[in-house]
């Protein structure tokens, strides 16, 4: 029995052991590098957050949330800003999510694979990388002037919806793709139509991924300054949009959609560039609260995802 000389090292038990222990070391090294990078990222976020909280500590009072902007730093608050940001996010989510999910379903489940859908796909992916100011300019021409929405919450919400649409589409497609083919085939095999398969199986099972995409999109939208400054967000506004809830039937009002607004990042930007250093504390506090709002949105998404995942039993 002759042994191929090239195979010799693999047959020598000592050499195999040495090779194995070397590979195990490499394995550990990779784990350590990965862990360090991750911890470094978390540490940067933590330092940033702690720094903001420290700088803004004296501003974390109830008044800060219930006061309008003012020329006096200690009297200035973020009422108009956080209400504006919240309402814009509501409009953005309501517009971007149904359209984005529908587009993703069409592209994944219905669209034939041809050059036309290939072009759409490339465009969607590229749109995710378009600078946000471009969306702002588009929205200024389209929503503000063409549709005559003016400098309103509706215009801002639609602008940010456009901005996050590609993110929602891409994330939804990923999660639709992760539903095993066998599930679809089983349902088709039992005579379900394509729509039945989609609504009863594909959608429910991919809800977790869809929500993740939605939150990623909204987290990006909440911090955007450039596009909403372009469409004409205000810096000083000492009144709130019309309340969405009314005391008489039908209890909901949409007047707020047409109201002027300001948003958290704009308020921050304005405070950072003020001459009086006391405003820096306000800016830091507003930054910490904005970060808090984003983290809270993420937490809600994780919770909803957990609830949905628990219900799935294949």
């Amino acid at each position: 029995m002759s042994v191929n000389p090239a195979m010799a090292p693999f047959l020598d038990p000592n050499s195999v052991k040495r090779g194995l222990s070397r590979r195990k070391v490499l394995d550990k090294v990779f784990v350590i590098i990965g862990l360090t990078v991750m911890l470094a990222c978390l540490a940067i976020l933590a330092v940033l957050f702690i720094d903001l909280i420290k700088d803004g500590s004296e501003r974390f009072t109830w008044d800060f949330f219930t006061n309008f902007a003012s020329r006096r730093a200690e009297r200035a608050g973020i009422l108009a800003a956080w209400v504006g940001t919240t309402l814009i996010m509501v409009v953005t989510a309501i517009c971007a999510v149904p359209v984005g999910v529908a587009a993703a379903i069409y592209l994944e489940e219905y669209a034939p694979k041809n050059w036309f859908t290939a072009i759409i796909e490339i465009n969607v992916t590229n749109l995710a990388g378009v600078p946000s100011i471009v969306y702002g300019l588009l929205a200024l021409g389209l929503f503000v002037y063409e549709f005559d929405l003016g400098q309103s919450i509706a215009a801002a919400g639609l602008t940010l919806a456009l901005l996050i649409l590609p993110i929602v589409i891409v994330a939804t497609r990923e999660s639709i793709r992760s539903v095993p083919k066998a599930i679809r085939e089983a349902a088709y095999g039992l005579g379900a139509t394509r729509w039945e398969v989609t609504k009863d199986h594909v959608l429910p099972y991919s809800t977790g991924g869809i929500l993740t995409g939605m939150i990623l999109g909204l987290s990006r939208a909440i911090g955007e300054t450039a596009p909403i400054i372009t469409i004409g967000a205000l810096s000083f506004i000492a009144f709130l949009p019309e309340s969405p809830f009314t005391s008489e039937f039908p209890f909901i009002s949409f007047g707020w959609l047409n109201d002027p607004f300001t948003a958290m990042p704009i308020q921050m930007f304005n405070w950072v560039s003020r001459p009086d250093p006391a405003f820096q504390a306000n800016a830091a506090a507003a930054g910490a609260i904005l970060l808090g709002m984003t983290l809270m949105m993420n937490a809600v998404a994780i919770w909803i995802r957990y609830r949905f995942r628990k219900k799935i039993n294949w």
Partner: protein, 357 residues
């Protein structure tokens, strides 16, 4: 056979749709709410609000004054009138103003020819009212012991376009100064402060060397000068007042050869020149017909003096406010600059001139 099929199918689909059903309900509600909203937004564009709103937009330099006046005015009206202030910049503000979108435009420079043209085309007439002064302040590091005063010629040597890449040491400005590197900080090219400084120092608006640390945020300039012994920078007076202990202001030699520190008195008596500039508001004529806008402008020109001082600007002399108010009441339309940038005009001179649309 058929029964068995239906039975099996319904059983399987029941089990598989337990989650799906609830899910669909969620999406249905979501979708119909969205449709309802789209409908509403379509039916009622720009619903007239019950309260009247006065809309201001424009220069971010004038913003602190506008904000202070808007704040106090709303308090004095007990919320019956709403005032909003934006910061689209002087140019951006005029664009909106000449489209008739705003009632008042804040400006850190007079209206330019193209902007006058745009307003004329849209049929928007306007009143030009000075509201305060700003004194551009040249600052150095507190540890800088050699600079006692600067002439406009010194400043020109540092900032003119041909200084780019060539003038890089203090002794190139004056031989008696040390051979230390000269590090320059200034506002970015989009700022009205930059426009005015270059006009006053280099003789042409926007003509400047490009190799200096530019920032749209004046606080960055404060920081830069504070941390570098050999630095020099310029910005609005308000930033100097708020940061007196971090940077040192340099007296600037005026036309009559006197070195003058920027101060409220020096701006008012006209001796701090050429670096003091007036700030304006432009009121559109249709808006000026409205009672609440008239009241607002009245408030601006009577209380504005105290408020401007509070936020770090130099108020006009009392008589100037009274004269401006008189012009407003008499509807003196147009600009007194004719659309050309100008340096060094005193406030009395400006208020005595005839306006042009």
């Amino acid at each position: 056979m058929k029964d068995w099929q239906t039975c099996a199918r319904s059983e399987v689909s029941r089990r598989l749709t337990i989650t799906g059903f609830k899910f669909m309900k969620f999406w249905n509600i979501f979708g119909s709410a969205a449709m309802l909203m789209a409908l509403q937004a379509g039916v009622a564009p720009q619903a007239a609000s019950a309260q009247s709103t006065i809309k201001l937009d424009g220069s971010s330099t004038v913003f602190p004054i506008a904000e202070a006046v808007a704040e106090e005015f709303q308090i004095s009206k007990r919320g019956k009138v709403r005032v909003t202030v934006g910061i689209a910049g002087t140019g951006g503000g005029f664009k909106r103003f000449c489209r008739g979108e705003t009632d008042v435009s804040n400006a850190s420079r007079p209206i330019l020819k193209e902007e006058m043209e745009a307003c004329r085309k849209a049929g928007i007439k306007y009143l030009e009212l000075p509201v305060a002064f700003d004194a551009l302040t040249v600052v150095v590091n507190p540890a800088n012991t050699w600079v006692k005063a600067l002439t406009v010629a010194d400043l020109k040597k540092m900032w003119e376009p041909s200084a780019q890449g060539r003038v890089s040491r203090w002794n190139q400005i004056r031989p008696e100064w040390p051979a230390e590197p000269l590090t320059l900080f200034g506002p970015g090219a989009d700022s009205g402060t930059f426009d005015y400084f270059t006009e006053a120092v280099n003789g042409k608006s926007k003509a400047s060397r490009g190799d200096f640390a530019a920032s749209e945020d004046d606080n960055v300039i404060v920081q830069g000068v504070e941390n570098n012994k050999n630095a020099l920078g310029y910005f609005g007076y308000a930033y100097y007042i708020s940061n007196k202990d971090r940077v040192r202001a340099v007296p600037v030699v005026n036309k009559s050869g006197k070195a003058v520190m920027p101060s409220i008195e020096a701006v008012n008596d006209g001796s701090y020149e050429p670096l003091s500039r007036p700030l304006f508001i432009y009121v559109s004529e249709p808006a000026a017909q409205r009672a609440e806008v008239r009241e607002f402008i009245n408030f601006y020109l009577t209380e504005g003096s105290e408020l401007a001082k509070e936020v770090g600007y130099v108020p006009l002399p009392k008589e100037a406010y009274q004269l401006a108010l008189k012009h407003f009441k008499e509807k003196k339309l147009g600009t007194v600059f004719g659309g050309v940038p100008e340096v060094g005009a005193t406030i009395d001179e400006l208020l005595a001139r005839e306006g042009k649309l």
